[in-house]
């Protein structure tokens, strides 16, 4: 495929993200620079529960504008292959998952988990014709209840993902995904836009079971004008929000952003720690992955129940789908009375859909030439700056982008109280690294 889209021009960032730069960051299909960057990483593709047993039904998956099919064969091997049969272009979703392969129901061509055609019934076996047919495929591995894929060049495949939420024992972690009907970038930028929390989510700190009760909530509620600090990290950014605490100290909430689209929100009290991945489906839709975990204890039944019910950063679904129950077709179940009474700030219930409703309202791909960023948006500005820098280095010089190195993935967010003159990167140095059996820094 020949890419005719935007390219990277030296020093070109201007005009509130020029259209060319906006296109460059938001387009992730095959052959695009940002698509090449996403294809450098292991990405969450499906929940392991979507392929619950050997020879279970295959699942259609669209990632980075490529239509794929995931299946689990007779021996438990996972495969992620081109959705369409090489013979006549039939969707293999209709296929029969049997005897270590997926058989097209049209003429019986059969493929294994690597996409290799292993049987063409109309051709003599001795002809070797089947061996000449191979569908594009990507590796698919299970880690932490998530099936991860790597869609880049095989010789550059990095080690498996090391995110802490995916490596702790299964009873300590819980992950969901939901469809977000917008480009990945505007969704991800919401995750590092710490200044919106004091407005959009202000009603939830004291009521949501996955947030309430932490001492830190008092700092949030008593100081609604935090001061922000943005610091470059090896994998992306630390975004610190500081509020006044006792004795002249500062209460810091430090969000981690690791390229290209991982964020981890500072914990509260002994609640689970949570965060997101935003993975492009195509240029106008993405998966919002939401995880909650605790590094040193199992999640309680009450916590898991609340997560399943769509509390915290999770969402309720339209039954049988991963589309949120509150979605754009029903105006996100807007409740003007709750908005007027202050029970919710926007009228939409739940943190996840409060974010998604506004991000989707921008349109499938927001026109960033019309935005008016302000000083508190420096986290977003810096993230774009780093993405552009990384994609340029990757495309022009083959430099692996930050976040591929497993060391960049062993990170934590932190909530911590520090003296007023201490850099949070220094004071929270240990707290920002994931260490087995060490409790998260939380207030």
């Amino acid at each position: 495929m020949i890419y005719n889209g935007p390219t990277i021009v030296e020093g070109e960032f201007c005009d509130m993200l020029r259209k060319a730069q906006n296109d460059l960051l938001t387009q992730t299909g095959p052959g695009t620079p940002m698509g090449q960057m996403f294809r450098s990483y292991w990405m969450p593709a499906l929940l392991a529960g979507e392929l619950p047993e050997n020879e279970c039904p295959p699942v259609r998956v669209k990632l980075l504008s490529e239509r794929l099919l995931a299946f689990r064969d007779t021996e438990g091997r996972y495969g992620l292959i081109d959705e369409f049969c090489a013979h006549r272009g039939v969707s293999l979703w209709f296929g029969r998952n049997e005897e270590c392969g997926l058989r097209c129901p049209y003429h019986g061509w059969k493929y294994d988990v690597t996409g290799q055609c292993i049987e063409v019934p109309s051709e003599p076996e001795a002809s070797g014709f089947a061996q000449t047919i191979k569908l594009k495929s990507y590796p698919l591995i299970e880690r932490g209840g998530v099936l991860w894929t790597y869609m880049g060049a095989p010789d550059k495949q990095p080690p498996p993902p090391e995110w802490e939420f995916a490596t702790v024992p299964r009873k300590q972690t819980f992950t969901t995904k939901r469809l977000q009907e917008s480009n990945w970038l505007q969704a991800m930028e919401g995750g590092i836009d710490s200044s919106h929390v004091s407005f959009l989510h202000r009603g939830d700190l004291d009521s949501d079971p996955l947030f309430k009760g932490a001492k830190a909530n008092q700092y949030n509620l008593s100081d609604s004008r935090p001061v922000f600090e943005v610091v470059e990290s090896p994998g992306g950014l630390y975004i610190g929000a500081r509020r006044n605490a006792e004795n002249g100290n500062y209460y810091w909430r430090i969000t981690q952003w690791v390229m290209p689209s991982f964020t981890m929100i500072a914990p509260r009290g002994n609640h689970a720690v949570h965060g997101h991945f935003w993975i492009p489906i195509d240029d106008e839709n993405c998966w919002t992955w939401s995880f909650d975990y605790h590094p040193i204890r199992e999640l309680t039944r009450a916590e898991v129940s609340a997560m399943r019910e769509g509390k915290g950063i999770h969402a309720k679904y339209v039954p049988g789908t991963y589309r949120p129950l509150a979605n754009k077709d029903n105006d996100y179940l807007m409740d003007r009375e709750a908005q007027k009474a202050g029970r919710t700030f926007s009228g939409v219930q739940g943190i996840a859909m409060q974010d998604a409703s506004l991000q989707e309202s921008m349109g499938p791909i927001v026109d960033r030439t019309k935005e008016n960023l302000v000083s508190t948006d420096n986290g977003i500005i810096m993230a774009r700056h780093r993405l552009l820098r990384a994609v340029k280095a990757l495309v022009e010089k083959g430099v692996l982008p930050p976040g591929v190195d497993p060391a960049h993935q062993k990170v934590r967010s932190a909530a911590i109280i520090l003296p007023p003159d201490q850099p949070f990167k220094d004071g929270a140095r240990e707290a920002l690294i994931a260490r087995p059996d060490v409790a998260p820094a939380s207030v």
């Binding site: 201007c14 001061v227 470059e232 000083s375 810096m382 007023p420």
Partner: protein, 170 residues
């Protein structure tokens, strides 16, 4: 029936967004707090900007303590070396960006910050060249700029400033 919200969120409807300008240019004053930052600001000033102007306060690094009653006249120089009145410059700004280098004396941040606070002008501190700075050095700089900055950015490379100013429509 499909809701208004659903239609508004579609790619087809996004084409109908009003094309008229939605803001006026903002006036941004960029001030180097020390001699090393002055080089960065000097380089930035050579680019083309809408409403950004560039100054140095490096010559006033030995700023008086805050409790001392001093005039806020002077305290700035433009890049051609002329002394400028701090209050006048702040008074016409929408945002003041202070650029500092770890390890340098940036006590003048207090004087600028106080003027901004008095005029209710937003302040951002950019600390450049932090990669090679020790935590102790960075800490000293932070102690001087934090009380007067509503946003602090610690950047590894100074090319970030240009991107930031562009993003802010400077």
């Amino acid at each position: 029936m499909q809701s208004e919200s659903a239609r508004m969120s579609s790619a087809a409807e996004a084409r109908f967004r009003v094309q008229a300008p939605n803001s006026k240019p903002r006036v941004i004053k960029v001030i180097a707090l020390d001699a090393l930052s002055e080089d960065v600001v000097d380089r930035l000033a050579k680019a083309s900007w809408n409403q950004a102007t560039f100054f140095t306060a490096a010559a006033f690094a030995g700023a008086p303590r805050l409790e001392q009653r001093v005039s806020k006249e002077g305290w700035l120089r433009d890049l051609s070396g002329r002394t400028r009145d701090l209050i006048d410059e702040v008074d016409t700004a929408d945002l003041v960006v202070m650029v500092a280098t770890p390890g340098e004396n940036v006590a003048v941040a207090a004087m600028i910050g106080e003027a901004c606070s008095h005029k209710r002008v937003m302040t951002t501190a950019l600390i450049v060249g932090a990669t090679s700075a020790s935590d102790e050095t960075l800490s000293k700089t932070l102690a001087q700029v934090r009380p007067w900055s509503l946003m602090v950015v610690i950047a590894n490379a100074d090319d970030y400033i240009e991107d930031m100013l562009s993003a802010l429509r400077a």
